[in-house]
Symmetry: C5
Subunit: 90 residues, 5 copies
C-alpha cells in the first residue's frame, strides 16, 4: 500500500462501463515526510476522500476487492483509495 | 490507473492470436501538468481512442476485464485504454 | 520479496472494512548494506513487527495469503510483513 | 505491453521443469524512438523472434496465457514475447 | 523474468509458516554485461542456487507455481529463483 495526497479528479465521459458512476481521483504518492515520491496516478475512491486529504492506496487485484465490490461484477480498476490517513506515528 | 497521451500505434503481423484485430496504441504516461513521466508503453484500445487524445490506462489483470472481454476467452493483454479523459479538475 | 525497516505506523479511522483491526506499518525498503532504497510504503503486519525492526515484505496477491488469511474472506491488502529478519549471511 | 529489442538468449541447464524446451530471450525495452529504456529482462519467446528483432512484450499473468499455453499446465513464466513489431505508426 | 546474482541469504526465525524450511536468498538483479541494475531483493530458491551464481528470477504469481509447489498449499512468496544461468548468448 502507498500513502498519497488527493490532488484532483479526472472527468471522462467515454469509458469502460465498470467505471461509470465512480469517482476517479488524481493522487500524488508521498512519503511520511509529506514529500511527493514517484508520479501521479489515478485511483477509484471507495471511502469518500476529498481533494487535499491524505489517503491509503492499494494497487492491483486488491483494488477490485473493496467494500463496494459486490456492485461490480466486472471491474477494470487497478488502483483504489481504501482509507483516509488521520496521522503517521513514528 | 494512469493518465497517458496516445502517440502512435504498433503494427505487428506475427503475433499471439488473442491480439488479432485489436488496436495496439503507443501511449506516453503523463501527469496532470501534461508532462511526460516514465516511458512509453503499448496498450490495447477498448474505447476508440485516437492519436493525440488523453486517456486512462489500466495495467495487469484489470486490462483483461474490459467491456469487450466476452470476445476473448484467452487474452495476453496486460495494459488497456479504458477511458478518454475530457479534463482534469484540480 | 524485499528487505525493509519498520519506521512507523499509519492511523486511519475511515477505511475499508477488511483493514479494521490490522496494524498498518510504514516500511522503508533497504538493501543488505542497510541503505534505504526506493520509497516508503505501507504494509499489513502479520508477524508482530515493531518500529526499528528489519522485516521481510511481500507484495501483490502473496500478501493476501498470510497465515491469518482465514480471518479475512475479502481483503484489499497488497503488501504484508511476513518475517522478522535476524541477520543477513553474505 | 512494452516494445523491446531482442539482444540475446539465456542458457540454463538447471531450471524449473516448466521452462524446459522454451526459448528464453534477453530483451532490452525501447521507446518508439528506438532508445533503450529501463533495464534488460528475460522473456519466453512464443512467436519465433530472433536476435535483433523488435518485439511486443507482456508481463505477469498475461505471459502465461499465450497461444501455446495448452502445453504448460504449470508455468512459472512472468514475461513473454507475444508479437514481432513490423513498424510504429506515429 | 530477470537475471540476477545471488549475494547472500536472509535468516528469519519469526516468519509466515509457508516460509519455514525454505532458502531465502538475497539477489542483485544484473544485465547481460553483468552490471548491477535496480536494487537487491529476496527470492525463494527452488533450484539449489548458491552464493555467487547467476540465476533466473520470476516475480509475482509465477513464483508460486514452481516445481515444488505441491508442498505449499498456501504460499506468500512473490519472487523465486527458477534457473541457474550457464551463459548468455549474444
Amino acid at each position: 500500500m502507498y500513502m498519497a495526497k488527493v490532488v484532483g479528479s479526472v472527468v471522462a465521459t467515454q469509458k469502460d462501463e465498470s467505471l461509470v458512476g465512480r469517482k476517479l481521483m488524481i493522487v500524488q504518492p508521498i512519503n511520511s515526510e509529506m514529500d511527493p515520491v514517484r508520479t501521479e496516478e489515478v485511483a477509484a475512491d471507495t471511502v469518500g476522500a476529498g481533494i487535499g486529504e491524505l489517503v491509503l492506496l492499494v494497487r492491483g487485484a486488491g483494488a477490485r476487492k473493496t467494500q463496494n465490490e459486490g456492485t461490480h461484477t466486472r471491474d477494470v480498476v487497478d488502483s483504489a483509495i481504501v482509507g483516509i490517513i488521520d496521522r503517521f506515528d513514528k
